[in-house]
Symmetry: C2
Subunit: 390 residues, 2 copies
């Protein structure tokens, strides 16, 4: 049965490993088509438990849980890379469509293998080297093989800014090196950091969303703002979209691939890293594009025609982070005043507990004037405090 | 506790009578804020059962079911007028906020009382008279008190084009008169039929969406297409919005009021009828406006600041109706080809059974060119067939 014939038919089951905010928003997109989305995560108090009745309690890092969850599904996808890929390999052998393919997931979830993949496929990326642990890194510096500053990334433990350390000084070398196998790369003199989300389906059709520009919170190393369109030339925009398509074709992945890119001072684009799933840098598409990244991911993994990625409006996305110093039941202080802001769309993930810098939601501000949207985003970011208690 | 402080807090419960497509889309809007929405309808195979885990099985026309459902809620609203308002009156007495207020619902759900309300409040509407049954109507025609053509509306049984009969001839008078108490009004020589959805919160703030223009399927007497912006002058647009605000203020309702208006050949606006809830003529707002009608309804009943009703894009909404001659499990023929149409957003309600002309979903087409959007809507309407079986 072709996918398009099976959607909305009883017995056709699409499973997602992970029921956090990305699983939630994927299920929300599926709800528009009334497509049942089955989710696997710890328990149904997780964000997606609220928007889909098809929630299975389990651990997506556990072989048996993933295998049992997956074996009656026709299509499986992920909201997070750090899942049990052994089980996915087995399910794939047994005929389940797994998007992204587990073999590619194994490459992407290891930041060392990911860099080697780019080197092997002549995809531009910053120079790098791999080390077995922090001692080996110190030795390489002592011997003059590597010089400061550099970026250290844990090969397999990274997510949301964790597992990344910027080493600028001898003191950093003593205090900030991460343990275990790592990838070291040059600290690129960046002009901008941009991201392009590209989709690919089994038919080989690809479609990129407009490039977005990211601004980071230096303290938490998390994306704070995201602007679309990015403030780059049409030439760079076209180059970035073509590069994103080149990367997804090299991987041969079905679904979304979020490609984070460095634009250096000379105008060169370098692939930083990728995520084979909906991504924080695409949240604005829900409110500002013809097709949301979540719907596009579903189209791509179901081999449906990809949707138009045209913008309805310029937009700014701001992550709503837990306030520093607050851990406990979440309270959204000043939410009412923020609801007055014209063009602001609030997406709260429903995590019951807030923690410092935890992603508790996001707001997308649409406005014909990007500058005005940025002003509104800053206002909301300052005003809305996610604290504990009430 | 102020509403804005209670949203997202455990123990704050908002209930909706009805779990059909409007309840579903209301719950989808609530999901963005992770606000729990409790729904009452026959069983959770109803559309909203898929998008909210808080589904109560029961009959919203039954006193006990409504009372039991409502008594632990802080705020109650509806997706359909034909609910048990006696129970709502009792719940209101006991301190539950009911929006719209049951006293106003009693007026609106009786098309005779509704017309009298406009007459008493000097709100322009077409001339009308009330009759106890079809025999009384025939007598009035025989005596010359009433002349053909006219529109007969059943006072309390109307919904989705049912309960309305256009009587043009002696033959119609024999065959098409509806039984029971009715309201008869002149057949207005319409230039256009437009609708304005307006919101009002407890603070008295009102906000209207841009007027939409409706095109009907003459066979089913159902809205087939809806265009926004309406093809009317700025002057008429402003008059229509002001009239909608006048009507909602006259009712003193909190929530949405969809005001259907006739624009006659002389440029006069007449109120046809209203619905105190989200409405088919506002579905396009999900994909084309800064705030969707469903989010606006929630803002209004929770006394939150109303959202901007600005358009992101011109749009056309087309109802996806069950194909004539088909009753049974729904199959969406040619859906895949329709998914290729740029700017088309599909909303399928997940009704398991299709029937001739049953509203099974809608599609909103956004496009900078309204003309192009109309062309796409017609194409989809011809292409997509909702038939039984596969």
């Amino acid at each position: 049965m072709a996918y398009q014939d099976s959607i909305l038919h009883p017995g056709f089951k699409v499973g997602v490993l992970g029921g956090g905010q990305l699983g939630k928003m994927m299920a929300q997109a599926a709800n528009n088509w009334h497509l049942p989305l089955f989710l696997l995560d710890t328990d149904n108090s997780f964000p997606a438990g609220r928007v889909s009745p098809f929630f299975t309690a389990g651990n997506f890092k556990d072989y048996d849980d993933v295998y049992q969850f997956g074996k009656d599904k026709q299509v499986l996808t992920i909201e997070i890379e750090h899942v049990n890929t052994e089980a996915l390999h087995q399910l794939e052998k047994e005929g389940v469509k797994v998007h992204p393919a587990p073999a590619k997931l194994d490459i992407i979830k290891d930041k060392g293998l990911q860099k080697q993949f780019y080197a092997e496929h002549n995809i531009p990326t910053s120079p790098f080297a791999l080390y077995t642990n922090e001692e080996a890194v110190r030795k390489a510096v002592a011997s003059g093989e590597r010089s400061l500053p550099f970026v250290q990334k844990s090969r397999t433990a990274g997510y949301d800014g964790r597992g990344v350390s910027i080493i600028r000084s001898e003191a950093d070398l003593e205090e900030k090196l991460l343990p275990g196998p790592c990838m070291i790369e040059d600290l690129v003199e960046m002009d901008k950091e941009i991201a392009v989300i590209v989709a690919r389906n089994e038919s080989g059709q690809t479609q990129a969303f407009p490039a977005v520009e990211m601004a980071f919170n230096p303290e938490a190393n998390l994306v704070e703002f995201l602007f679309c369109p990015a403030n780059i030339s049409k030439e760079v925009e076209a180059k970035a979209e073509a590069l994103a398509a080149e990367v997804i074709n090299a991987y041969g992945i079905c679904g979304l691939l979020a490609v984070e890119l460095f634009l250096d001072k000379e105008g060169n684009l370098l692939v930083n890293e990728v995520a084979p799933r909906p991504h924080n840098s695409g949240h604005h598409t829900i409110d500002s594009c013809y097709t949301s990244q979540f719907e596009q991911h579903l189209r791509a993994i179901l081999n449906l025609p990809l949707g138009s990625t045209k913008m309805k409006s310029p937009s700014v996305m701001v992550n709503l982070l837990g306030a520093p110093g607050h851990t406990g039941p979440a309270y959204y202080k000043h939410l009412e005043e923020c609801l007055k802001i014209e063009g602001a769309h609030f997406h709260l993930y429903g995590k019951s507990t807030t923690k410092p810098f935890r992603k508790m939601g996001h707001a997308t501000i649409v406005d014909e004037s990007l500058e005005r949207a940025v002003g509104k985003a800053r206002w909301i970011q300052e005003k809305l405090e996610i604290v504990s208690g009430s």
